[in-house]
């Protein structure tokens, strides 16, 4: 029980505070052939930016390979010989940045940050001769001015946990009865099959709903997520999603015979795609077109759009009716197929 409710709390905390796509305290090395006032100035600027931390001062190019191989540093900044001299006399000085691109995203970010810090330094020096024509860009970040990544994670975490509890656990629970043989006993009792299933499913419905509310509360209170839209709409859509996931769980249970298989199917066909194809971490628009079609089939994808729209954009129903309809139809589809399969099974039992 503690785990059931503690788990989402711990996860949201970790996702909210620990996980970030940004760079912080990245370990870099400086290979300074000049060691003059300019290179030291630039070095100081880099290290006080908060993005970088000095791991070691290298002495020669040979050491770079070893450092990278050990995974100690992510970037090497190389200043050429006579740096300040070249800058002042010949108006041309050279810096080389070597990044460990085994993680291309981080490497790109690191190189960009380093370059922009160096360019800032230059612009300060050159303030004496301003550029005659300037176009300034005014930038506005709509819906999420501080570019907080936690707003991405909270809806995503809710989705994953709901899928886990409602779909996976439900399916495993129903299959368990099948596996143990107690399902037969239930079926020959005066209880209607629908009553059995609903009875089994209600606890998970309640758990899911409570957990969703807990996570949302954490989002608003701890992470100060702004709520632009209607709470009622949010809860309504959440209930719809829970029902959808429950029906999916029931469907899986009609297709499998053992718990192990039910779990593997849920895990492999639901969890991983939910994490990666729903737009939770990786934006769907950037995937190859074929994959985008696959994403359309994923219920979590629609739900994440709905949640984000309500919370961050304050969308009213008129903006999200299409996604809601899709979730609704999916639910009906799952229930329909489940009922059919169930009826076949009942027939087999009777015969």
């Amino acid at each position: 029980m503690i785990i059931l409710f503690g788990m989402p709390v711990v996860q949201v905390l970790i996702f909210g505070f620990a996980i970030t796509t940004d760079i912080r305290d990245a370990k870099i090395s400086i290979l300074d052939h000049s060691k003059d006032y300019m290179t030291q100035d630039i070095t100081r600027k880099l290290l006080s930016s908060g993005y970088f931390v000095l791991s070691e001062n290298l002495n020669s190019e040979k050491d770079i390979e070893t450092s990278f191989r050990k995974g100690k540093i992510k970037e090497v900044v190389i200043f050429e010989n006579h740096f300040a001299e070249n800058f002042e006399k010949n108006q041309k000085a050279h810096i080389q940045l070597i990044a460990d691109a085994s993680d291309p995203n981080t490497a790109n970010l690191i190189v960009n940050y380093t370059s922009s810090i160096i360019n800032d330094y230059q612009e300060e020096l050159l303030k004496l001769s301003p550029v005659p024509v300037t176009i300034t860009s005014e930038v506005k970040m709509l819906f999420n001015p501080e570019l907080k990544s936690v707003f991405m994670f909270v809806p995503g975490t809710i989705t994953i946990l709901l899928m886990l509890i409602s779909a996976m656990m439900t399916s495993i629970s129903i299959v368990r009865e099948k596996e143990m043989g107690t399902m037969e006993v239930l079926l020959v009792s005066p209880l209607k099959p629908a009553q059995i299933i609903i009875g089994k499913v209600i606890p998970y419905f309640l758990f899911s709903f409570i957990i969703a509310v807990i996570i949302l509360l954490m989002g608003f209170v701890i992470f100060k997520m702004p709520m632009q839209g209607s709470y009622l709409l949010l809860l309504g859509e959440t209930i719809l999603f829970i029902i959808m996931a429950l029906s999916l769980g029931i469907l899986i249970s009609t297709l499998t015979r053992t718990q192990q298989v039910a779990m593997m199917i849920s895990m492999v066909a639901l969890m991983l795609p939910t994490m990666l194809l729903s737009g939770f971490i990786y934006p769907i628009e950037n995937m190859p077109v074929v994959l985008q079609w696959v994403c359309q089939l994923m219920p979590p994808k629609w739900f994440i759009i709905i949640i984000k729209s309500i919370i961050l954009k304050g969308s009213s129903f008129s903006y999200i009716w299409k996604e809601t309809l899709i979730l609704f139809l999916m639910t009906l589809l799952f229930i329909f197929i489940s009922i059919k399969k169930f009826k076949i099974r009942l027939q087999e039992l009777k015969n």
């Binding site: 940045l97 176009i135 492999v268």
Partner: protein, 370 residues
């Protein structure tokens, strides 16, 4: 020794008796590998940009042409008013708005200063930052062109040239980065989940009692039970690596022996953890839930999707017992950079320690008597 072999035999028979298990273990994960490797990228394909040109001058047209000419941008329309444009952001019809106010050209010609506005849909914070960077840099390019064309002779090139080199992955190919990580997840699924659930299954069905009354020793039973899944996981890793090389052409620079050596230890850790879970739980459902919880936390913190070093200090502390983190580090360093054994000694030793720890706890907790 023979006892262990018997148990192993029984496990294999049991596992494959379930006909759906075989495709699930081999086919599904590999399908996943294919799909997910293509999905996981932070690159931006196309920015859907909406133009609001209130100036309609030569200069504003020139600026707009620069975006039209770029394959990164898809101009989804030009709206007459700012309010309508923002509506498109609400409707998810566009990602970004470029607003050129009236008086743009006049400002440039008369005072040498003018403004444009870029509005980004920042729901996805990191994507918004990237989009913004692209768009502002194109505007800056246009700026430089103006300077060069109107004032010949002024040096626009800054004195410091910055040369960038990307080692080990010069094309910044995301698949090269993600595929080893995805392989790790798939292999973990088998190692952790199946082994854990397997143990609990015996408890649930009740056959564990029958095993417990035999003279079989604890370690024999545990070894026999874990071995098949350990073996299957390694087989899957091998198969996965082969496919990865075939389909994505990921570089295998380093020594494969190191990889499999590390994998062997890593899987012992995972199997051990699965075993510990099974001693705590009574049903397969609980075991799965618990394992899943740990797996999600471990994977998210492991540096698979987001850089592990960027986490706050307390998170890094927790990470020091995260086997996934160590294994991914080893995989990436050996596969992509060709690290040698002395380079990966630290994570490797950490894995060994964790393996010993996990197995010790598991064997200790497992009681033949309930």
């Amino acid at each position: 020794m023979r006892t262990i072999l018997f148990i192993i035999q029984k496990e294999f028979i049991q596992t494959f008796r379930n006909r759906s298990m075989l495709p699930i273990i081999f086919v599904m994960p590999l399908l996943q590998l294919l799909i997910l490797a293509y999905a996981t990228t932070f690159e931006i394909r196309q920015i859907r940009i909406l133009l609001v040109d209130a100036d309609k001058s030569t200069c504003s047209h020139q600026l707009i042409m620069k975006y039209q000419g770029s394959p990164f941008y898809k101009i989804v329309g030009d709206s007459p008013s700012y309010a309508k444009a923002v509506e498109a952001l609400y409707n998810r019809k566009a990602d970004q708005i470029l607003m050129i106010p009236s008086g743009f050209e006049k400002g440039l010609k008369k005072e040498g200063k003018t403004k444009i506005q870029i509005v980004n849909d920042a729901i996805n914070g990191s994507a918004a930052a990237l989009m913004n960077a692209y768009t502002t840099s194109i505007a800056r390019d246009y700026n430089s062109e103006l300077v060069v064309s109107s004032f010949l002779g002024i040096q626009v090139q800054p004195p410091v040239t910055i040369e960038r080199s990307f080692w080990y992955n010069p094309e910044l190919n995301y698949q090269t980065y993600m595929v080893p990580g995805i392989l790790v997840i798939l292999v973990t699924l088998i190692g952790l989940f199946l082994s854990g659930m397997n143990m609990v299954r015996e408890k649930e069905i009740g056959t564990i009692e029958q095993i417990n009354v035999t003279p079989i020793k604890k370690y024999q039973f545990i070894a026999g039970k874990l071995f098949p899944f350990w073996f299957l996981a390694i087989a899957e890793l091998a198969f996965g690596l082969f496919l990865a090389k075939l389909m994505f052409n990921i570089p295998i620079v380093g020594n494969l022996g190191l990889i499999f050596g590390a994998a062997a230890v890593y899987l012992i850790v995972m199997a051990g953890i699965g075993l510990v879970m099974s001693t705590i739980t009574q049903t397969q459902q609980q075991s799965m839930f618990l394992s899943w919880f740990f797996m999600i936390v471990f994977i998210m913190m492991s540096g698979l999707f987001t850089p592990a070093e960027s986490m706050p200090w307390w998170a890094q502390y927790i990470n020091s017992i995260n086997p996934v983190m160590y294994f991914i580090k080893i995989m990436r360093n050996v596969l992509l950079k060709g690290s040698e054994f002395q380079d990966i000694i630290q994570p490797f030793l950490a894995l060994c320690t964790l393996a010993v720890l996990a197995l010790a706890i598991a064997i200790n907790r497992y009681r033949k008597t309930t």
